[in-house]
Amino acid sequence: MATTAESRLAESSRVQTASPETSGEREMKRRHRFQVATYLGPIMFVQVLFVLAPLSFILMFSVLKTGPYGNIVFELTLENYRNLLDTGYATVFFKSIYYALQTNFVCILLSYPLAYYIARYGGRWKASLLLLIVIPSWTAYIIRLYALKTILGSNGLINNFLIDLGVIQLPIQFLYTSYAVSAGLVYTWLPFMVLPLYAALEGLDSSLWEAAKDLGATPVRRFFRVTLPLTRGGLLAGTLLVFIPSLGDWLVPHLLGGSKFMMAGTLVAHKFTAAGDIPGGSCLAAALAFVLLLLIYFVIRFGGRESLEQAL
């Protein structure tokens, strides 16, 4: 009995060494699998259960019907997607994309010089100057939007100031215009542009500028040929961090735009609440998600994933 077991053991060990996968390799694979499970199991669990499942849930709802009082009828239909094309939601989407792009552009215009200034001339105040950008965003977002409302109102600070200066006689209507919405969006998301840009600019070796200067580039050319291309990653990351939330923003058009127009986010919220059309809302949410994923895809494709992740 013992001898047979031994011989079997010997045989099995022989087979092991003969096979291309040795025991060492197998042991390594097993340990590797165990490590993957330990370190990444939890996040996979969270991702599958609370990200992928809910998002597919949204997709599922988007092909259902709405009953007369807004109840969900479990009947498959593509009507929601058809509605997407012919009820002018496209206009809302395009308009939101336009606003988001505008916000993004203004953010870049304001943040680039700022980030550049801090990175190059900040000296020992760098950290403090950065904190000064971040701290306002730690005061509740809604409270700040209301304060912005106070500033922009026709009896607000800007108008009073201008009237006192004698620049204008009658208050200008800032609040509840598209300008107010843009200002609100820029205000809210500006720090998210400054930080990645700063990180990118800070990482630049100053000898690069010197080299460019040495090679006779003018400041403008130096900027466009050296600085800008090298901070592309930060710019892309900032763009995503600003573009996405401003596209989906809900409160800014509501509070600062006087609910006079909707952005994509408002529309989704509206569909879920006022219109009471959950399948329709799901469909819009899916469409919005799709548009964004497309965008991310292009950013990753042309900007590189690393630059994006690093800037995050």
Binding site: Q35, L55, F57, I58, R144, A147
Partner: protein
């Protein structure tokens, strides 16, 4: 050259004013006697007194604080081990996992909130409440933690880890004594990002909150609907001041510990 710096300074100054104006308005008007907190009608402390009497503010504030704390602890922990796994291990589907981790950040909050809400009530045994709020916050903030900590990991010399193991430390002890302390700036950075976000989140919380767990932002929102009340300005002021004090304190502590070391 001079002109360029001047121009940069000017734009920076304008941007700083733009960022800080609303905050300063909040702080100034929290002392204004004006009933709607939108005009200067003389100095008063009464809104601060009113805050003390307001149970709702205290309760919601505490609630938000607890939610934010739990979120920070869980998501930095999850973020750390995930970042570690993503950084150190090679396996099939890693890129897919990375992309899927990005998803919650790139989805508009409205979509995330709506999706989670539908999921919680239709498919999960969980009642809407603290658990769902915290889960939703963790879902959103873990990716932030992962990428912030991953960024820090790229700056760590990994021979430190091997050196520690080589000197007889177990994996756990290596993490506790070597990698953990070295990752701390990243973890702290992630926490500093997540805490205010979680504390301040309106959209996602609005969707997934249940009975009797109104958080501070939701309370503030419902209060502000009817015209801003000065008490809200007081809350805003207190937060700004507390943040500033906290930051100053950490700075001082850092400085002292640095000098002490030398």
């Amino acid at each position: 050259m001079k002109l360029r710096i001047l121009f940069l300074r000017l734009i920076s100054l304008v941007t700083y004013i733009f960022l800080w104006a609303p905050v300063i308005v909040i702080i100034v008007f929290s002392f204004s006697a004006n009933k709607y907190g939108i005009k200067w009608d003389g100095f008063t402390w009464k809104w601060y007194a009113a805050l003390l009497e307001n149970d709702m503010v205290r309760e919601t504030c505490l609630r938000s604080l607890v939610i934010a704390l739990i979120t920070v602890v869980v998501s930095t922990f999850l973020g750390t081990i995930t970042a570690y796994g993503l950084y150190k291990l090679k396996f099939k589907g890693k890129q897919l996992l990375r992309t899927s981790i990005l998803l919650p950040i790139v989805m508009p909050e409205v979509v995330t909130g709506a999706a989670l809400l539908l999921f919680f009530i239709k498919l999960s045994p969980l009642q809407l409440g603290y658990t769902t709020i915290i889960i939703a916050h963790i879902v959103f903030s873990t990716p932030l933690a992962v990428f912030v900590i991953l960024g820090r990991m790229q700056r760590i010399d990994w021979s430190w880890e091997e050196a520690s193991m080589d000197l007889g430390a177990t994996r756990l002890s290596t993490f506790r004594r070597v990698i953990g302390p070295l990752l701390m700036p990243g973890i702290a950075g992630a926490a500093a990002l997540i805490f205010p976000w979680s504390f301040d989140d309106f959209v996602i919380t609005y969707f997934v909150s249940g009975i009797g767990n109104t958080t501070l932002p939701i309370y503030v929102f419902s209060q502000l609907r009817h015209g801003s009340t000065p008490v809200i300005n007081v809350i805003g002021t207190l937060f700004t001041v507390i943040t500033l004090i906290g930051l100053l304190a950490t700075k001082m502590a850092e400085k002292r510990s640095r000098t002490a070391r030398l």
